[in-house]
Symmetry: C2
Subunit: 210 residues, 2 copies
């Protein structure tokens, strides 16, 4: 049943996959060739049981008595997450946040290729960001028709985020990585919202309740 998932994998499991992947990368860089669920668990602060349980959603990657081959497991996780297949992605909203995201996120190491940047402000059009020229928002539709981006980063003011998201879905975009300070509800698309404000408020709560 190698690399076959028999059923829908739960959200908590999916969210742990990148952590496993990053740790495996690090071990590999450090020249470690073999490891075990026990060791991985110790490094990640979780039980060995959970790691074995999680991995078993996708196949059998270890050997009884020997544990896991680091490189092999890293490669399998890479496949599972879908990293080798770079999905075309665009970015909408080239303000300060869009600039930092486009220039600092390592898209190509995380499964995406940034192929277009759009903004509504005339003064930004034509400027270069992350080796791409910022295009006017009016060209979104024809660009999507031609280049078929599968995903989009949204760095928009909260007033326009929902409307732009809906247009993008109409144009065939299936995944949204939303940095706009609002929730977005669209049918037929995966949305991951990065709520920095919520994250900061959570820290406030925790510090007041130590």
């Amino acid at each position: 049943m190698h690399l076959m998932q028999k059923y829908e994998v739960s959200v908590p499991v999916v969210r742990r996959l990148p952590r496993y992947y990053r740790l495996l990368q690090e071990l590999e860089r450090n020249g470690v060739t073999r490891t075990s669920s026990r060791e991985l668990g110790k490094r990640l602060g979780m039980t060995a049981s959970q790691i074995r349980q999680d991995l078993s959603c996708f196949g059998c990657f270890g050997r009884q008595g020997c544990g896991y081959a680091v490189k092999e497991l890293r490669e399998n996780l890479e496949q599972i997450i879908g990293l080798p297949d770079l999905l075309p992605m665009i970015l909408v909203g080239a303000g300060s946040l869009g600039k930092v995201v486009s220039e600092n996120v390592r898209f190509e190491e995380r499964g995406f290729r940034l192929i277009g940047i759009f903004d509504i402000k005339p003064e930004l059009i034509g400027k270069r960001l992350a080796e791409l020229q910022i295009q006017p928002i009016e060209e979104l539709e024809s660009f999507c028709a031609a280049k078929k981006p599968v995903a989009a980063v949204l760095c928009l003011p909260k007033e326009s985020a929902q409307a732009v998201a809906e247009r993008l879905v109409l144009f065939g975009v299936r995944g949204l990585w939303n940095f706009s300070h609002c929730d977005i509800a669209v049918e037929q698309a995966e949305v991951i919202t990065v709520h920095l404000d919520d994250s900061l408020m959570t820290l406030s709560y925790k510090l007041h309740n130590l």
Copy 2:
């Protein structure tokens, strides 16, 4: 038992508090004065039961038959999260990421006051960011001794993040909001790491498994 929590509130509950707070703010802005767990649940895509269960960790804020007063509940959530008590916070690492965080995050609306920015690069020292002058990292200790920041934003290269975090904890910092691309392990402090890379990989997985 108003505003008293009888026991440790679970992590999932704490993480939902900011969402409730933001929605209540929005309702209040729109002139809504009364609401119910049923309506809140519909807006947030969760059960009315869960909202009542969550709120009951902190007290009784509603009235049978009438529901909740929007303003009152918003104010209570504000208190619960700790927003009115602005905690002094510093930012370490004034590169492009630190710049965007310092200038775009609304600290004062989220329970914190940014009182200092530090960097190691001589060419950045003295420049202004978010109305503060960037200070040399050497002054971290004396600054902390004098101003007693409770929390810190870390926007550092992953090589130095752990070491800086440990120093900060020694200097009395109790909460870390970590944007560095690595995990941080420190005793005696709350750490919230914003793993943008993990978030993007999760999107990759989901798009490959629609």
